[in-house]
Symmetry: C2
């Protein structure tokens, strides 16, 4: 039987080249059982005319399908669905009906309902996206990332791509981090003291699981990165939120029975405070007296474009008491999911075993691509370019915020990519964000960053990492007007 | 000051092109503080002569470093370390000393000490690698994977690469799995019932965390995939290993107070048994009576080259009681770390929230690459090619095993990539494996697959997924001789 040319169609919103779309359409016709073995395909000329594409495009697609044994050719008589083509399943899928399972009983542990971030996935369509933590296509060095990824896909790196590392990591990435990245933060670490993670989130999660139990106490900054509170809640440890001041977490406010202190000294999230050196020493002393550990999330240190970054807290740690969390996802792009943990060997050993159990290892290709991007110097060049662009945007932001008399609560004297803002009392920034959303402006309400039930409602975060300079003034103007008209 | 040309050298074992190596050497010299701002680089001619490379190679490397602002050029006077080049840190890394932390106290939960796989990472150097689960470069379709990865790195997929999906996944991959992959297993699922995971390991881990607690009981196959036992041990649930027979797990042996049954009906790991249809129905009935859930690891169904695969257990499930685990890591390559969970929405919702907390989402680039590889038909073509190669190797294996009278305990009537072997009583296969290791032969001792303290010691697994046909006979001969000489 000949397959009628009319049953072939390209989806108007399909992706890929025309040749790929044709190949895909035919492969899927076969896989779904619509096209059967031995059935004759339309001639390349007819199909090309029907689809309105060039004949060579169809010919190349057929040739590719021939090579993959989806099609066979019989000389001049044309192309047929190959006798070796995959066969569709002979059983019919069941239609859905009500579950007999009582899920409220069957689920042993609940994880949903946390302070999930509700950032719109379509943020790029907004005219004024004062949104935090998404990659700006105009700043990211996509071309060199692509080249590094391509190199990591080469024959020579076949094993780095495909290997099951079990609990290990790409030795090239580990070596670069140990020899180049960490020394720049003042940290000296051996490969056995480093573990690659799926971003900082994964690093914080692993750390929490290893160090905390129901009987232990964690001190964390307030406000802080909301997902950290979720992670700690899931571990069921005791939690003490410690209100930060302009210098970060005050050591003397940390309860004496704390086992683990979570802190972001480089760049407090979300207030942008950088902890001064004296306080870093005081924090280490305090932790030493209490015999507590410190988890240092070295958040956004790369974005210190106004002043050189201070050395990491970990670099001052002679006790092995600091566990360091680094991330490439923030500075490169969040979809990368790549970070690392640095700590003493007994700790890293347990985190490594847990990671192996949870997910084995971060994909090899991503580790190797990052190793190339770092070692060829692209990463540092990118950071400098981003820093310079952010510095410009920041100046525009500062001017616009001053012009509209909007109050900055935390600006970050080293740089960064956002301002922590305080609206007048009585302005609910959740409602403010909803109103601005309708006007094409995205801001982040501050409430989810705070602990407890009496969260301040008048803070918000304005990031300038994803908005072009040219739109900042108008966007800030809209925010100012909405705040003025509030209530 | 001019930098002496003698301080420049290329590592003999460095990777990448010569141009990249030069670029990397200079970038690292600057980043490590060896080369200072304003210092003059050797001329391209001198450096080229010194390194023994062409001058154009050095010129291109310099030009690239110029573009990235590592170097600056002053007309005819040459290249200098740029005034804007990144500066090395001014603080000295601390040298290591004894930790003041008592790690035996500080670690709240231990995860190390499980049945860690001890496969040599250098398996590819062995002449007779009867090893399981690593990619064979001669079978994998590296060229098309690379093309798909390249496409996924394109400008049009920038957002799929970089986006923070939070708790979501690549919609293209989800759609393909829902519309094409699952229907071929007889499974009908909506996107909300599917979650992408970092391989089957991660899927099993998430499932265990959501469903099991200290008060619940899991039944698992004995022998089974050792990492599953580790995962269950970490959840601290009650565990009942159920000895499998030639048809897989016998439903009547499962204790009536079981909450969750873990099974591999397509292809029992490691015995290769495929569960007959009658037993699948019996297992579903038994689970229904007990109100237990079933976790179906649809292990190696793709490798059914001798017979068509049976529909998945999940396809027979009208109660919503089966949670299905699929994997691309096994059929593509383990370093990919890509699998998926299919289950009722209340379950997937919790698994999704937990995944978001643990790692957010599997990297976007990998999801999109897989979506292309699948939708262009490369995956199915690959599976057929692999099946046909494995069928050949299997025939060679069977002949060699018969010639040496080695006893096959589980062969798998649908295909697969390994035989489950039984050596004579008294042969300790751990010791056997060590002896064979010295002779270039890798086998997998069977002990870690068994539960409890009285593990049988005379089983072993011989995989033919990574050894060429031509070496099988000699390798089997060496194993037979070592068994004969044992003890």
């Amino acid at each position: 039987m000949a397959l009628p040319v009319e049953t072939f169609f390209l989806h108007p919103d399909a992706q890929g080249t025309l040749q790929q779309q044709i190949q895909q359409m035919i492969a899927q016709g076969i896989l779904s059982g619509r096209f059967r073995q031995g059935e004759k395909l339309p001639s390349t000329r007819r199909l090309a005319a029907h689809l309105g594409v060039s004949r060579i495009t169809v010919t190349i697609a057929y040739t590719e399908l021939l090579a993959n044994d989806y099609l066979s050719s019989k000389g001049r008589s044309g192309y047929f669905v190959s006798a070796n083509a995959p066969t569709p399943p002979s059983f019919e899928p069941l239609t859905e009906r009500q579950d007999a399972v009582d899920w409220s009983r069957a689920i042993g542990q609940r994880f949903s309902g946390g302070a999930a971030m509700s950032k719109p996935q379509d943020w790029a369509k907004f005219r004024y996206p004062f949104i935090y933590g998404q990659a700006d296509p105009t700043l990211f060095d996509h071309a060199n990332w692509r080249l590094c990824a391509l190199q990591a896909l080469g024959q020579r790196d076949f094993s780095a791509l495909t290997t099951d590392y079990f609990d290990r990591d790409d030795p090239q990435l580990i070596e670069f981090i140990a020899r180049h990245t960490l020394p720049r933060r003042g940290i000296n670490a051996r490969p056995e003291q480093i573990l690659i993670t799926l971003g900082a989130q994964n690093a914080l999660w692993l750390t929490t699981q290893v160090l905390l139990t129901q009987r232990r106490r964690a001190a964390l900054e307030d406000p802080c990165y909301p997902a950290l509170r979720d992670i700690l809640s899931q571990s069921r440890c005791h939690m003490t939120p410690v209100r930060v001041d302009a210098d970060g977490i005050p050591p003397e406010s940390i309860p004496p029975d704390t086992d683990v202190i979570f802190t972001t000294p480089s760049h407090q999230c979300p207030t942008n405070a950088t902890m001064p050196m004296e306080r870093r020493h005081a924090l280490l002393n305090r932790a030493g007296e209490m015999n507590a550990l410190i988890v240092e999330d070295d958040y956004e240190f790369e974005m210190s474009f106004l002043k050189s970054p201070s050395p990491a807290l970990k670099s001052l740690d002679t006790d092995g008491r600091v566990i360091y969390v680094g991330s490439f996802s923030k500075s490169l792009f969040p979809g990368l999911r790549l970070g690392y943990l640095v700590g003493s060997e007994p700790f890293i050993k347990e985190a490594r075993a847990l990671r192996a159990s949870v997910l084995r290892h971060p994909p090899g290709h991503i580790q190797r691509t990052a190793a190339y991007f770092l070692s060829l110097g692209h990463y540092d060049a990118l950071i400098r370019r981003m820093g310079s662009a952010l510095q410009d945007r920041r100046a525009v932001m500062e001017k616009a915020l001053a012009a509209h008399d909007l109050r900055i609560s935390g600006r970050g004297y080293y740089g960064g990519s956002s301002f922590w803002m305080r609206a007048p009392d009585g302005v609910d920034t959740d409602a403010l964000a909803r109103r601005l959303h309708g006007k094409g402006v995205l801001i982040e309400p501050g409430r989810p960053f705070f602990a407890g039930s009496h969260q301040p409602t008048n803070y918000y975060r304005l990031a300038y990492s994803s908005i072009p300079s040219s739109r900042i003034a108008d966007g800030v103007g809209l925010i100012a007007r909405e705040i003025r008209d509030f209530g």
